[in-house]
Symmetry: C2
Subunit: 345 residues, 2 copies
Amino acid sequence: MRTISKQEENAMEAVKWGVVGTGHIAGNFAECMTYVSGARKTAVTGTSIGKARDFATRHGFDMSFSDFGEMLETARPDVVYIAVPNHLHFKLVMAALDAGVNVLCEKPMADNAFQLERMIAKAREQGVFLMEGMWTRFFPAVEKACEWINAGAIGRVRSVRAAFGLKAAPDWQMWKASAAASAGALRDVGVYSLAMAFLGFHETPESIASVYSLKNGADSHSELMLRYSGGRAAFLTGSFEIVTDSRAVFYGDDGLIILGDKFWCPNRAKLYAYDDADILSTTLTETLEDPYLSHGFQYEIAHVMECVLHGRKESSLYPLEESLKSVRLTDSLRKEWGVRYPSDV
Amino acid sequence: MRTISKQEENAMEAVKWGVVGTGHIAGNFAECMTYVSGARKTAVTGTSIGKARDFATRHGFDMSFSDFGEMLETARPDVVYIAVPNHLHFKLVMAALDAGVNVLCEKPMADNAFQLERMIAKAREQGVFLMEGMWTRFFPAVEKACEWINAGAIGRVRSVRAAFGLKAAPDWQMWKASAAASAGALRDVGVYSLAMAFLGFHETPESIASVYSLKNGADSHSELMLRYSGGRAAFLTGSFEIVTDSRAVFYGDDGLIILGDKFWCPNRAKLYAYDDADILSTTLTETLEDPYLSHGFQYEIAHVMECVLHGRKESSLYPLEESLKSVRLTDSLRKEWGVRYPSDV
């Protein structure tokens, strides 16, 4: 059972968090703050003061607001966590940066590269921390997989498979499937699959082949093959229409890594070597088990707090360049598919 | 435990088999003949009379030959099974057809579409049975999967995943990796993955994206994305360089099918429905378990014998059109990759 160690606890000073949004993900995030010492539940902003107060009561926040600017001024948080529908991110991120406040914004942080470039320029101008909430990157199982990959434990990476597919009921979180909310399956769940490809292959793919289905102007299902030089590839899926195997696999010349059960918030990483004695077999050589508490946001929360406390302007684990790589790729796919957002230029 | 039933046994008259080849696969095939009543081990042809005699003794064949024509004339088999390196298939198949003998030839039966079209024309001219040995098609688990797919048990098929990857030791069956023997990973193992795509999608793909690695003029690794209309796709692998998950998966609009443990000779088919109560869950609704005896060639053997006894000219389960579809696709990929065989025109 992974908890923050005594040593880490001592090192962790208090950081005042302001949460924006009172939905499902904001609630999970707030719950996980409980497991990070020094994470102060300072303030929450909701679409109404009633919703904000309910959330504050439920999760133990000190102050409630229905106006974001007022929260920034009154509560003076060290960092804000933005967890609202996609198309509302830009305005809130820019407002926080303008106020000189550090920002962690849910993925996908920006609707398009145009927005993201403006956010990054603003963060640099203001000298504050900005990060997209790709929480996956901070799970110990993912860190272990990266460590194995970078140490050459599976040799050269040849193939990455990651599929995040769910079967949405007709009434399931409608905004996530709507172009009006700058959403769709690729940017809601497919970006996690993309993040796996980026862990396996650091360069830009040579080309991308895709199939997709659209519903109400946004993609509800897509599958991608990212092609890299030297016979390397990634098979990726982001879907609201099929329930896929939730493990990600990295095949290398010498072995493979499996991240699971759910690769986007994995509790396990396994390293296998190809078996010399049998052309079809593999041997488990190392396992990391991490039956973490609650939802697992604590790893991201602790990382952001460490960055903020050290005055860093971006994360070394999930730098802004990584966000740019992702949004440029989703921009080009959306263009190909004809998925346009109101904020597209 | 699946065995041939009493009823089937009564129906099965004797069929005289002539086996060509004394290697690993021919041996497995001979072993499986034991489990099909009426399958007479009439004759075997080897590259030398010594090898043929050893094989005949080991597997209980009546006659041994080092000359194929002599076997046809002397032993008068009802059907020959050809299990020799790829580049030798054409000459032997044509000789058997010329002699008016029914033919089952190991996959890949022909080096290219040009050869296959000539084989098919010859078989029709002679009025004899011809089939490529895609043994996978005859396993009860595969038949069950086809039945589910065709009955709409998973709704419209959206995605197929099939990877046949093994890690070849440097000294592993060299001819299988050589262009001189009309071989390579795509045609040795990748064709099984292709066969899964063909079970899921009956039409020709709109386009194919691929990555590949070459060794000594033949492909040693490739991954393919077959794109079909309406956002449908197949992710396929054929490799001598990575050991992949050996299960094939068919995702549909309403559920999924898993074929395993090894999808090319599966002992199990499982049908799952997407779970209404949880967007990420599935419920197992039906399983076929088939812990078959020996290597599993008995299903193909029994099918071919039934065809021969009924005077059929081709299999309804694996018709020659299916072989043409496969070889046309591998022809076009080889052309793209620059993998040329001596017999290519």
